[in-house]
């Protein structure tokens, strides 16, 4: 069948610059560039190009320019180019269109409609280069009160405390499994988390044995619906255990790691045969109600002897506040909430683009609900899904998050260009692939430094913003919506966010 699809990208090759070194040909995993020895010329195959920009970056003479293809259908605000192309793709394949990365549709990004406060006159701002500025964060359940005794040696805490995990910076890496991403990328995240003193999240692909001793202290290990790689040593080597109920990019559905990505090592980690599809069911089949969730939470607490906080990760959907309240009452120590812009290695496009609600609204609603019920201290809230910069992070914390998970930002730091083809396993940047020829492009020694640099720069920026507000400890901005104002938001949106309009 001849494809009627238009190419998505145009490859422009400046022949006067091209030296036919064939770097582009070797770098392109989809065959977008070919050298023809008969003509001694480079040829482009635009129909396969995904716009990853690997060739443009690596071309030593700057001869390549890859940009959105200029062929356009007649302008139509209802029937966009993307809609037409999708219809044609489905007509040619009869399948569900897959995609990767987060929702790219123009839903309102509330971070861009919230602004932060600063001190003027009545309250001195604090210079973080001169004064301490503290970002340490504790994840886990806090008691309602502390019993403290005074004895000869001073004050002593009598209360028994629930386990909490301390992180140096309220930013952790989101769940990205070994299998979805390459070993090199996975290891880079672990190395960076350890260096910074924060967390990485194994996703549902297990934690390779050789990484457990060194990186377990910085690991959140997931127990997801496929139960891949799960045993008691896996849980006990980590610092937090997370039950994955849902993912912002694909609420309500499971996952599918195609057999081609299930290499020997991936198979060993997941405890499945090599080359078989790793299918995660849509629900956890032992959780059909909130009581069942509670049983799993306590089963995991038993397995870990009540030494680790148990997190429950859900996607942001309509009744997320009530669901969160149920999760806390079911015994979870942490709730991770993943919004509509959360990323994925693979999801049906129709799900990614249409299901779920924006994180900002979900986060604000959860924080308010838990406070109204007087149980906000009984859990920590981690927000996830589309954090692009430290400003977004601080706004989320002011809305009520204890910490945030970043996934896409970390991938971009390692090289990802959001071409959205993660599900093909042909990531030219070596991030989201199991092909050794591609994955060896990512050197963990270098990628982890980039991740550390990213977090350090966000840390500096958060400190600058906090200092500007006259605050020297992150706990004093947490849930402090007085320091936020809305711009360009309607009344109902400000109500849900619990934030005043600018100038109010």
């Amino acid at each position: 069948m001849y494809s009627y699809l238009l190419p998505e990208f145009a490859i422009e090759r400046k022949t006067e610059r091209c030296i036919k070194c064939r770097v582009c040909e070797r770098q392109c995993p989809v065959g977008g560039h070919k050298y023809d020895p008969d003509f001694d010329a480079m040829f482009s195959y635009e129909e396969v190009c995904v716009g990853c920009q690997r060739c443009a970056v690596f071309c030593p003479t700057g001869a390549l320019c890859v940009q959105p293809h200029s062929s356009q259908y007649r302008l139509n605000y209802s029937w966009s180019r993307e809609k037409l192309q999708d219809l044609k793709k489905q007509a040619e394949t009869g399948g569900v269109i897959l995609t990767g990365s987060g929702n790219d549709k123009p839903y309102k990004v509330y971070w861009d409609h919230l602004v932060l406060n600063a001190s003027q006159v009545t309250n001195p701002s604090i210079d973080p280069l001169r004064e301490p500025m503290e970002l340490k964060t504790f994840l886990g359940k806090k008691p309602d009160s502390l019993e403290i005794d005074l004895n000869k040696e001073g004050f002593e805490i009598k209360s028994e405390l629930n386990p909490n995990k301390m992180i140096e910076l309220p930013v952790a890496f989101s769940a990205m499994s070994y299998g979805a991403i390459s070993y090199q990328a996975f290891l880079s995240l672990a190395m960076a988390a350890k260096e910074i003193g924060t967390l990485f999240n194994t996703g549902e692909g297990g934690l390779p044995l050789e990484m457990r001793e060194k990186y377990g202290g910085n690991a959140v290990v997931q127990c997801a619906s496929g139960r891949f790689g799960v045993d008691s040593e896996y849980f006990n080597c980590a610092s937090i255990v997370e039950i994955k109920i849902g993912q912002g990019a694909k609420p309500g559905i499971g996952g599918h790691l195609p057999g081609e990505k299930v290499s020997f090592n991936v198979a060993r980690n997941r405890m499945i045969p090599e080359g078989t599809d790793a299918l995660s069911p849509a629900p956890q089949h032992d959780i059909y109600s909130i009581e069942d969730l509670s049983m799993l939470i306590y089963a995991l607490k038993e397995v870990t002897n009540y030494t680790k906080p148990i997190s429950v990760k859900i996607a942001a959907v309509n009744h997320v506040a009530a669901i969160a309240s149920g999760i806390v009452r079911a015994g979870a120590d942490i709730i991770a909430i993943d919004g509509i812009r959360g990323g994925t290695g693979s999801a049906p496009k129709i799900i990614r683009d249409n299901i779920g609600i924006p994180l900002e609204l979900a986060l604000a609603a959860i924080d308010k609900r838990l406070r109204d019920e007087g149980i906000r201290n009984k859990c920590s809230v981690i927000a996830a899904g589309g954090f692009r910069c430290s400003g977004d992070v601080l706004k989320a914390i002011a809305l009520g998050a204890d910490a945030v998970y970043i996934g896409t930002s970390a991938l971009v730091a390692m090289g990802c260009t959001l071409c959205q083809k993660c599900y093909t396993g042909k990531c030219s940047w070596g991030v989201c692939t199991q092909d050794p020829y591609l994955s060896k492009r990512l050197n963990p020694e270098i990628a982890s430094v980039k991740l550390v640099n990213l977090l350090r720069s966000w840390e500096h920026e958060i400190k600058e913003m906090l200092g500007g507000m006259g605050i020297n400890a992150i706990e004093s901005i947490r849930g402090n919506r007085d320091h936020l104002r809305g711009v360009g938001l309607e009344g109902w949106e400000l109500d849900v966010l619990g934030v005043k309009g600018a100038g109010e």
């Binding site: 301490p132 706990e475 934030v499």
Partner: protein
């Protein structure tokens, strides 16, 4: 605690702005419990007039009602002198309390102030019904005070402790003292006083300091940048901020930690103004565990931003500044008189021959207790 639901707003965005202010503070206590007249506190606060702008002043005095020392003394103001509000409040009071005696708080008609309300005092004992019998007297009184403050328009309870009272209003503290005849009618063993310089809240009699719940009073200067965090944390425990000043938050935080959770000020000071993590790292294991746990559990009650606060209750007065000492506090002692102030000049003006004067570090409280010299402990490492 039955105190839930009052004043809850559907939308938090309609909460008015918090007050922000930079003010003068003074407190004096006789550690032998001897009562003395108001001239010391009045002269001291007049000395630091520059710290106020005439938009608020007030006094808290302990030991003023020895004849009614077993009764809760409710000082209640009725805005616009509305007698009909007074009728509503009195109906509520008689439903919930035995009112032993009540009278208008005497005022000096010669002093003309901005829009004075009617201020009345009631000496009451709780009359609990049904489930309320499970509440302690204090909890019961807090519940009723919260109800009046949040649910009865134009009525506001200045203070509700036994054998103590708060006198406050819009004006310089000297004017307030003259208006309520403080130098002539009252003697107490603790006096705290506040001169207000609000920068964005309009003058309102209820909004002046001291803030009080039961016999706790708070006078405070500064602006708490953590106000939203502190307020929302306290709301979980039934405290609803109706006055929109950060001092109210501080008063409730003190009530929550010290009265309800029973923590001593030596611990509470580590919650309000905790040591830096760098310092905690250097501590011995036990102290490190204490400080880490306090920050972990009570982080939302860290008071961030510049402040000095003087808190009093019967037999105790303490002062503390923020963790990086963006506002000062000075202490002075002479025999059994102990002074605290936002500036040393105020103390020196009324006690020129002090035995000691010292300025403690941020977060290090000066705790003045009856028949004790605990206050001198804060001289260690002071400036």
């Amino acid at each position: 605690m039955a105190m839930t639901g009052y004043g809850r707003k559907n939308s938090e965005r309609y909460l008015p702005d918090q007050g922000r202010e930079a003010c003068g503070l003074f407190g004096v206590m006789n550690t032998s419990g001897k009562r003395f007249p108001g001239n010391i506190a009045i002269s001291a606060i007049k000395n630091i007039k520059v710290r106020g702008n005439g938009l608020g002043g007030g006094f808290a005095v302990y030991g003023i009602y020895p004849d009614y020392k077993d009764y809760y003394a409710l000082h209640i103001m009725f805005e616009n002198k509305r007698r009909e509000v007074k009728t509503v409040v009195e109906k509520y009071l008689t439903e919930n309390f035995n009112v032993a005696y009540d009278e208008q708080i005497p005022t000096n008609a010669q002093v003309s102030l901005f829009h004075p309300p009617l201020v009345w005092r009631y000496f009451v004992t709780p009359e609990k019904k049904g489930d309320e019998r499970n509440l302690s007297d204090d909890e019961f009184v807090v519940d009723k005070v919260m109800h009046i403050n949040t649910s009865i328009d134009d009525a506001y309870v200045f203070s509700s402790g036994k054998n103590m009272g708060v006198f406050k209003g819009v004006g310089f503290p000297g004017e307030i003292a003259d208006y309520f005849l403080l130098d002539k009618l009252y003697e107490g063993y603790i006096w705290t006083v506040h001169s207000r310089f609000p920068t964005n809240t309009p003058g309102w009699w209820g909004g002046s300091h001291p803030f009080s719940i039961l016999d706790w009073t708070v006078v405070h200067n500064g602006e708490i940048s953590s106000y939203g965090t502190n307020r929302r944390f306290l709301e979980m425990y039934g405290y609803y901020c109706t006055l929109y000043t950060d001092t109210e938050v501080m008063a409730y935080a003190v009530d929550f930690l010290m009265r309800r959770q029973g923590l001593p000020i030596e611990v509470v000071s580590k919650i309000f103004a905790p040591p830096m993590w760098d310092t905690i790292e250097q501590m011995r294991e036990k102290e490190k565990h204490l400080n880490t746990t306090l920050r972990m559990v009570y982080g939302p009650l860290l008071l961030n931003g510049p402040f000095t606060v003087i808190v009093a209750r019967h037999n105790e007065m303490f002062g503390i500044t923020d963790r990086i000492r963006l506002r000062p506090i000075t202490a002075g002692a002479k025999d059994d008189m102990v002074y605290l102030s936002s500036e040393e000049a105020a103390i020196r003006s009324v006690a020129p021959d002090l035995d000691f004067a010292w300025t403690p570090h941020g977060g290090n409280p000066v705790v003045v207790r009856m028949n004790s010299t605990d206050h001198l402990l804060s001289m260690d490492n002071s400036i």
